[in-house]
Amino acid sequence: MLVLRVCRPDHRALTSRNPRRGFTLFEVAISLVLVSVGVISVMMVYPMGIKTQLLARYQLYASAKAEEMVESFNASHNANPAIDAEGIAPWDVPVAYKSQAHDLECRVATHRFGLIPLPLDIARRLDSDADEIQQILAQGGYLYYSQPMATSNTEEQGMRIAPPNETQRMVIAVTGFAQHNAIGIFPWKAWPYLMPYPSAPMQGLHWHNDWLPASAPKFDFHGQSYSWEATSPTGSPIPGADSDIRVVFDAYKAYTYDNNPTVELATAYLQAALQYAQLKGLTADFYQPNPIPNPVPDFIAGTLDLAGEDATHVAWKQVQAMRYLSHAATCMTRWKSLAELGGQPSTGMGVAIGANAGGSPAISLTHDLITYYHERCMNLIMRYSASFPYDWAAPRPLQRTQMMDFPLIEFDLFHPPLTGVLFSEDIGRGTIPAAQWKPLPARPIHNVGVSYQFPSPTLPHNASTPTHTIPDGSTLGSPEYQAFWGDHSRSTLTKPFKAAERCRQIVFWAVDWQSYEDCETAPSAPVDASKYPIPGPLMSRNFSYRMNFVDFRDEQLYSFRNPEKVLTFMWDVTNRATGDDVSDAIGLNRAFDEFAQRDRGDGTVPGNNAKAREVFSGVYGADRNFNRKLDRGQVPRSVRLRATTVARFNFYDPRLPMTIR
């Protein structure tokens, strides 16, 4: 025990009336402690100022980032024109994937829109208040960092080197549960199909004819093509699949594809269109009114009820008839002059169009009649598409695409799901179980018809026994209908809700994760399986082939990739010195099939596209601050860092997929 004293007491002085003694060591120690506490307290105040300023700065960054997230979510559409959007079953195409959800987190977690998952190795080292970060990770969520460059949709390989960006020192998460919203695409049939009006029956390339029924009108035009609308797969009536269209398409094909066009073939095409109108039960008042009405009407009186509803779901017949009639009749203006067509106004006889072998009505074609056809065609389709989004018999007009062309459909979460197996090589050969909720439209869909890619008989909820088509609203209440569609009483998309019921939060923390020694060499966070592209079912192709089939295209498929993709290293860079130029190793906008030919950096070239998969998964890390140099921080990976909460922003996802202009 320490017994030293600063001043030894004099025994005589103890008896003195004026004793003189020094401080004891204890007293001095106490004094020092008090002084130290005072000094340290004052010293601790100073960093508080710095901390406050840092917090203020990060709050500004957080505001800008939150604003950017909301803007890019609302202003960018998730266009992926290169993917297959429909399949026999919803699990056979990626449109039902999480990455396609109209959900802020899912939508902007791409290299184009600014949220990149922080490597899990790093994220797990971060402490936060109430351990919120670790809870999010434990629940399967991601912790994100901000991408280093602006989220401008432009090609990353052309961007300049990003200057230091302190926004990257924030980590971001979305809390709260994902919401139940409308689905963006009906995966069995990627409606709406869009066509210009007027137009011929819908036709175009078809990737794999294995799925076409034998009766499908196939032809070769820059590849295997066929006419979807002229297909009636089973020969039996399927609402929305109209076998009468075949006569129109065959005449159109003869005029357009099979021969040099002539006036005779154009006339035959017009006759076929007239025949189609007749087959739809339309009379001369429709295709040769006398006099031509002014103004030109839309639907024939009596087609719609007093409320403007098409109760019997037959309005589409007029739409389709006038669409073909207008297109075919206009072809005649290439061959006939105004004088031959009766002049304007058409007081002359016009061109006589006789009956064809199918008994088409004979008419006298005039300039004014052609103009009437065009006008009425436009009137009909514009009213039809605006009024009847739940009737799919006629394609939507390309001239007025808008969100209302797609009906409100959600998944029914309170009903046993549809189940089946993933497609593999052929019907009935798949073995991997799959399930998806039943689709639930706000109103029954009429004239569903068949899909463009898979017009063969399909049973969407059990691909092993494809014997049915999608039941349409005319079978409402039947066991067949109930087996496919959800319960309409549970439709929620048009119901009001309180903001608090759907509220989620964007949470920002500040932490210098880039000070870790492995900040750029840590592998990417595990890639959500919904980021994998997958083409529609192709005969003789198994799942692995289908995974390889889609070429990676940044500009179109940014939703289907590792969000770190453009930053990822293509090979191992751990042997390189800190600060080395690693421009050569960054993947940028290269297609992934390029990676397949690369070695791992050690001269070995893995086979079977293993390299592409390694790069896709980000196993070699990434240039996460986009300075084209290899960065390593000073903090060893064994150290935990504390993340300070910066800001929280409440939001909720829109119920419907939409973009601002």
């Binding site: 000094v39 700065r57 559409h77 300049r160 066009p261 290439r334 052609i370």
Partner: protein, 388 residues
């Protein structure tokens, strides 16, 4: 004798006292040094934060009011206003570049500023044409210029002649005329917007689902149907060469490989060059390189130095707001850059944000200068750049 016992400090005591003194002095000095550094750092950060906040606010002011490219109170920054009839730029008054009376008539050719002008229920706004019409069309699908045309009346010589088989011989024939065309309004609006504003403005003003083409009287500048080549041919200033696509296009195809942008008026003193720059695409998408990005940035992302006359110890502040269309998205890209006055190190905060549309920005500006005054009932609104 009372002997007083006096003794001095021992060496140990002295050393301890000195040591304690040193510790105290050192601690105090360190404390003051740390305090001074902390205060300096906090002050510097506070200053930087103030500068950063100012930059953030300036960026939002520019996003909201477009003052970086057109300042209503600074004639020195109105380089996007010059223009003549049919030859305007994004801030040229319509009364100069595209005058006309408001009318519901199909034959009205002037700008219609009404909010309801493009209501989809109005038949005059529907695009009427052959979407499959190529620049080398043989007109097998007929003459759609009969239904809608920029000219409401077409004379016989305004139709192309085509070769047809007549009897046993091929002969050239045309449609004849004159023909009164029922619809002209939409095509004249599309054309008028392009001529008045350039490509970005055209996309800004038209509805999202617009088709970017029209019919006009047949000429050497159009295909046989009367559709201008520059609107349907690949690799022309309006259309990129993507896929070699002929035929009219919507906004997506022209903005996924290439972009249209707003050019900063400070990039050139030549109004003709500025006009041309608003009528071409910039390669920023698939297959683009650093050169094309840098070129576009040089024209469209000129930073404003907002602290030109600052104390030496203040950070520098530059703000730019760049506007272009990419993948149909109207990108408003703000960059706030500040420079450390000692080290010269540059840091940047870049973000995209919602911003006022060009149409909105034009309607913020008074027709005769300054900002336009708006009231709630519209009865005493000032005329704007959009006013006829």
């Amino acid at each position: 004798m009372n002997t007083r016992y006096v003794r001095g400090f021992t060496l140990i005591e002295l050393m301890i006292a000195v040591s304690l003194g040193i510790i105290l002095v050192y601690t105090a000095t360190s404390a003051f040094r740390v305090a001074a550094q902390a205060v300096t750092t906090a002050n510097r950060m506070s200053l930087e934060n103030a500068v950063l906040r100012a930059g953030y606010q300036i960026a939002h002011r520019d996003l909201d009011f477009w003052t970086n490219v057109d300042d209503p109170h600074n004639t020195g920054r109105q380089g996007l206003r010059p223009g003549g009839l049919g030859s305007g730029m994004p801030f040229t008054r319509f009364s100069t570049s595209w005058p006309g009376a408001v009318s519901d008539s199909e034959t009205a050719t002037g700008h219609d500023p009404r909010d309801t002008a493009w209501a989809m229920g109005n038949k005059r706004v529907w695009w009427r044409g052959n979407m499959a019409e190529k620049n080398n069309t043989d007109l097998r699908f007929g003459r759609y210029s009969l239904f809608a045309n920029r000219n409401s009346t077409l004379a016989a010589d305004q139709f192309s002649s085509v070769e047809v088989l007549s009897g046993m011989a091929m002969m050239n024939t045309t449609y004849g005329g004159p023909v009164t065309v029922p619809h002209s309004w939409a095509y004249n609006q599309i054309s008028g917007l392009e001529k008045s504003l350039g490509f970005y403005g055209l996309c800004d003003y038209l509805p999202a689902n617009a088709i970017y083409s029209w019919y006009e009287p047949y000429s050497g500048a159009s295909n046989l149907g009367g559709m201008p080549f520059w609107l349907i041919s690949p690799d022309w200033p309006f259309n990129n060469g993507d896929g070699g696509q002929q035929t009219p296009r919507g906004k997506y195809r022209n903005s996924y490989q290439t972009s249209y942008g707003i050019i900063d008026p400070r990039s050139s003193n030549n109004p003709d060059e500025l006009r041309d720059r608003h009528r071409r695409w910039y390669h920023l998408g698939y297959g683009s390189g650093e050169g094309s990005h840098n070129e576009f940035n040089d024209w469209s992302a000129i930073p404003d130095n907002h602290l030109a006359l600052k104390p030496l110890n203040w950070p520098g502040l530059d703000v730019s707001v760049q506007r272009f269309i990419k993948n149909t998205r109207f990108v408003n890209l703000a960059r706030v850059t500040w420079t450390n006055p000692i080290s010269g190190q540059v840091a940047e905060m870049s973000f995209t944000a919602f911003g006022t549309t060009l149409r909105g920005a034009r309607q913020q500006r008074g027709a005769t200068g300054g900002w336009a005054k708006w009231d709630n009932d519209g009865s005493t609104n000032d005329p704007t750049l959009d006013s006829n």
